[in-house]
């Protein structure tokens, strides 16, 4: 047993503190109900025990206004909690635009994390204090779940798709990272640490380490090497969509629908190109499934993101 024993350790992220306020409020409300029911049961059981002289005349077998009251009151309380919780939950799904992106690839049974400048980590993630960080995550095999109890965040990491999670750490230090979705034999050993550092310290840390090409550079290299440039360069003779300014834009598809070109869309377009074809183009792009691993796809997406459009 460790030295500290905390029934409810303090949250170390911006949203985590708001979660705790909601948690404690709901704990108070439900505690009152639980104690109320328990007291009523014990009191009735003693007062109306068989043979006691309590007044039992006119026992009620249903009183309309009481029943309405104890239906409507919980309903009202629940609605308040629901709205409060949903507003908070929506924030979990809306990372601030300036959030620092980090790519996460989970596999049995480790976490691989990659910073935008190409610095990679395994089972350990360094993040700056007080700055929003957004994780774009995918899995190479089964479903995992990225869980940092101190930040009150958790998000399943799925194969074949990106999910995102964001937080802003409010305390420096080391925090547990768990895999929370059962993922096979060594599930319980798939943990790591989140290291929250002061921004200056973090910048130094980020710049250090073995020099590697950053994601965009790696993506550009792949872009030419696997043959994307053969069709997607504006000078190409093949009729293929231009990638400049694509990221974040609204894309019109051949079936008449529209989609915002986010990471998931780009990922699908590389690996399953015929799933969603852009309007006005023939479905001629080959699938790159099997040729590219998750890291490659991440690098390509980083490159496409870097190709901002406009003058």
């Amino acid at each position: 047993m460790s030295a500290t024993f905390d029934t409810f350790p303090q949250a170390a992220s911006v949203l985590g503190r708001q979660v705790d306020v909601l948690f404690l409020t709901l704990l108070g409300v439900t505690g009152i109900v639980a104690v109320g029911v328990a007291v009523a049961i014990v009191a009735f059981t003693i007062r109306y025990r068989h043979g006691s002289k309590a007044d039992r005349r006119n026992p009620p077998s249903g009183v309309r206004w009481i029943e309405i009251t104890w239906t409507a009151t919980p309903l009202a309380v629940f609605l308040v909690i629901f709205i409060w919780s949903s507003l908070l939950f929506a924030q979990f799904h809306r990372p601030p635009p300036q959030a620092m992106p980090i790519h996460v690839v989970a596999k049995q049974w480790m976490w691989r994390l990659e910073h935008e400048n190409g610095r990679r980590e395994i089972d350990e993630l360094h993040v700056p204090l007080g700055q929003p960080v957004e994780l774009v995550m995918t899995s190479q095999d089964v479903i995992h779940s990225f869980f940092v109890p101190a930040f009150r965040v958790k998000q399943d990491v799925l194969p074949g798709r990106y999910t995102t999670l964001w937080f802003t750490a409010t305390r420096a230090g080391r925090f547990d990272l768990f895999c929370a979705e059962y993922c096979g034999t060594q599930h319980s050993t798939m943990h790591g640490d989140i290291v929250v550092m002061r921004p200056a310290e973090f910048s130094r840390w980020l710049a250090s380490g073995s020099a590697q090409p950053d994601l965009v550079a790696r993506g550009f290299d792949l872009y030419r090497r696997v043959g994307c440039s053969g069709c997607h360069e504006p000078t190409s003779t093949v009729h293929a969509p231009d990638l400049s300014g694509l990221f974040g834009a609204t894309v019109h598809l051949s079936d008449g629908s529209t989609v915002v070109a986010d990471e998931s869309y780009l990922r699908d377009s590389i690996l399953l190109p015929n799933k969603r074809v852009v309007a006005g183009f023939d479905p001629v792009m080959p699938s790159f499934q099997g040729q590219l691993d998750e890291d490659d796809v991440i690098a390509l997406i980083a490159f496409i993101k870097s190709k901002r459009g406009g003058p």
Partner: protein, 109 residues
């Protein structure tokens, strides 16, 4: 219980075959979304004919009708709520939240 006439049974059968012809023919016209809708509507009419006349739902007790309808209702629940997920998955933002301060390079979410 009422025993149906041969004539009634035959008319239903003819109706079913006509509807089959309709659904097949409609498939060869380009109606856009209309193709799927037409197929589905005709299938529902056909199944209703079968249920009402061949399966005697027309004369059945309320309980039996309820049993026949229950599965459809719960099938609808299943489809409605799971598609509620599938169709809204790519939309990350919520309309009721105040927009975040956009960064210089544009709001991508």
């Amino acid at each position: 219980m009422a025993i149906p006439t041969v004539k009634a049974l035959l008319s239903v059968w003819l109706g079913l075959l006509v509807l089959l012809g309709l659904t097949t023919a409609s498939a060869y016209l380009d109606l856009g979304v209309g193709n799927g809708v037409a197929n589905l509507v005709i299938a529902i009419i056909k199944v209703s004919l079968i249920a009402l006349f061949y399966m005697h739902l027309r004369h059945a007790t309320a309980t039996v009708r309820l049993a026949a309808g229950a599965a459809l209702l719960f099938l609808f629940f299943l489809a409605f709520l799971s598609f509620g997920d599938f169709l809204t998955r790519s939309r990350n933002s919520t309309p009721w939240r105040a927009p975040q301060t956009t960064s210089a390079t544009g709001d991508t979410y």
